[in-house]
Amino acid sequence: MAREVYTYPKSRELFNRAEKVIPSGVYGHLGPAEGCFIPIEAYPLFGDRAKGSYIWDADGHRFIDYMCAYGPNILGYNDPDVDEAARKQREKGDCMTSPSPVMIDFAELLVDTVASADWAFFAKNGNDVTTLAVMAARAYTHRKKIVFFKGYYHGISAWTQKIDYAGIIEEDVVNNLYLDWNDPDALDRVFDENKDEIAAVIAQPYMHGNFKDNELPAEGFWKKLRKLCTDNSTVLVVDDVRAGFRLDIAGSDHYFGFEADLICFCKALANGYNVSALCGKDFLKNTISSMSYTGSYWLSAVPFAAGIACIEKMKRLDCPRILIEKGEKLRRELIKKATDYGFDLHVSGIPSLFYLRIANDESLMLHQEWIAECVRRGIFFTNHHNHFVNASLTDEDIAETVAVAEEAFAIVQARHA
């Protein structure tokens, strides 16, 4: 029997309300434009509730959610252990005039957990800590230039954006140098051409770029980059906001066998509670102390308590390993079904952060059709962003996902027969 094909009248009604009072209705990565909802009718626009691996939209449809709120959901939505820790702290106090000692507990736990961390500094969003990292690198080195790898995403501050983005002026990005990922010659060249001028190299642990397969670091790439940074007194910043704790509980730099000078975390740090952290080496601690950098809610205690519970549970579960195993199982089965229907499905990146692309058609329209049919049947995939696996995902969820994916492959195949 064919599955129910979702429609979203309530979502549409809410969106119509929203766009009267909110620019573009839903802005940013959760919105239909940046989220690449193609076609728009295939996607829910508003959520109602979430539990474990599931989200329910405003129309009451259930989805197995492979976006995990774009990363924060790592243990399962509303994880009881994390929520209980948060509840207990909330009863004691959250946003207070003096920070709770739970902040120290959280920092100590991060220093014990993250291989390259000698200290931790807390904020709210990934962008807060990537910006702090770059500012700290400039403060420490007294240099201006920052090296990026094309296809990067490091947040939304002006320095992270590009010259053709709305609101950005040339001066915002004039010190940005852009290199191709996995190009060792380009690394040599950029350090030669900018001797004593590069404050930092900032990179995600591997290339999560959109519209093309995700790309792991080539053999020796990180080792070379680490050495160049050390030899040139340049700060090496790892932006682990997206991948953090899905590759390695000790940090993605540890997974790839090197140590960052500064490493940025957010998303999975507290299973959805609002906190980010910059961790770093001892030699940068005084620099951070000297900086004027704070925010109204940055020292709130509830997310710290949630973060502690989240990290402790991730350790107990050996979370990165089980996420990679679940992702690998899904990867294998999706590829098998795709092949059965004549589709060349590429599943790239680390399996806990898998990226999907049907490669039969370079325009990606076929891929967009398949994703839309999956979403309409209750599997929340996105077209052009990596996905996220969470610890509550069961074998039954994976089986249901594969069954829906197969139905969607059959529909797309028939449409193009």
Binding site: F15, E19, P23, S24, G25, V26, G31, P32, A33, E34, C36, F37, I38, P39, I40, E41, L45, K162, I163, D164, Y165, A166, G167, I168, I169, E170, N210, F211, E362, S363, L364, M365, Q368, N383, H384
Partner: protein
Amino acid sequence: MAANIDQKTLAYINMYGVLGGLVALCDTVPEARKILGRSGCSVGFAVRGGPQATLTFVGGRCILKEGTEDAAIRIPFSSPEKFNGMIDGTVKPIPSKGFTKISFLLGKFQKLTDLLETYLRPTEEQLEDETFLRQSTTIMFRVIVSAVAQIANHDKVGQFSASNIVDGAIRMEIAGLAKAALIAKDHELTYSQKVPKNIMSYMQFADVKTARDLFDGKINSVAAVGDGLVRIGGMISQIDNVNRILSRVELYLR
């Protein structure tokens, strides 16, 4: 989003977008064909350090081609600024060739450019006429899409956007009214009136009103995606970057 207007880029837009609008005008508006009648002539614009192209009027149609070698009337400009001055009416064009055809320039050509201005800068009252609205929107669409290609190829910020556009055809369309393609090759864009069968991506405006409101800045394309008034598909990185270039068209054509 740097706001500097580059005169050379503007000259290319004026040549292929604005004067290129005469091609769209003759294709779209019967009155333009009536002005031309059966007579034919060609006018070449040679801009030092800028574009060189010829508008050929024949059989009621207008064709735009690169180069001025075969033009019956040739008008040289010592710089892009001078050429841009002709377009905004502050510089008087002086032909270097074709003095015997000058009556075409002062007569039919002038009438056509005046008519084009009517369609590119219409009044609210004119737009209440459905036929005029459709014709004006079609011409504007072609001018704007053509301008996108010029900005991608010549404007510093546009070139940055184009550097992120992969090869392949991008179909731009107003549903039921007009379509054109931007062909990306080695990070340069070429405007094509003919849309290839195989495209890499598309951006479709739902109807005339949507297109008009977008052109007039009354609605935003990102918001319009949420409403389903703008449909996008395929290689979205192409569309994303074309959209960034589109946002610069207003800077040059306001």
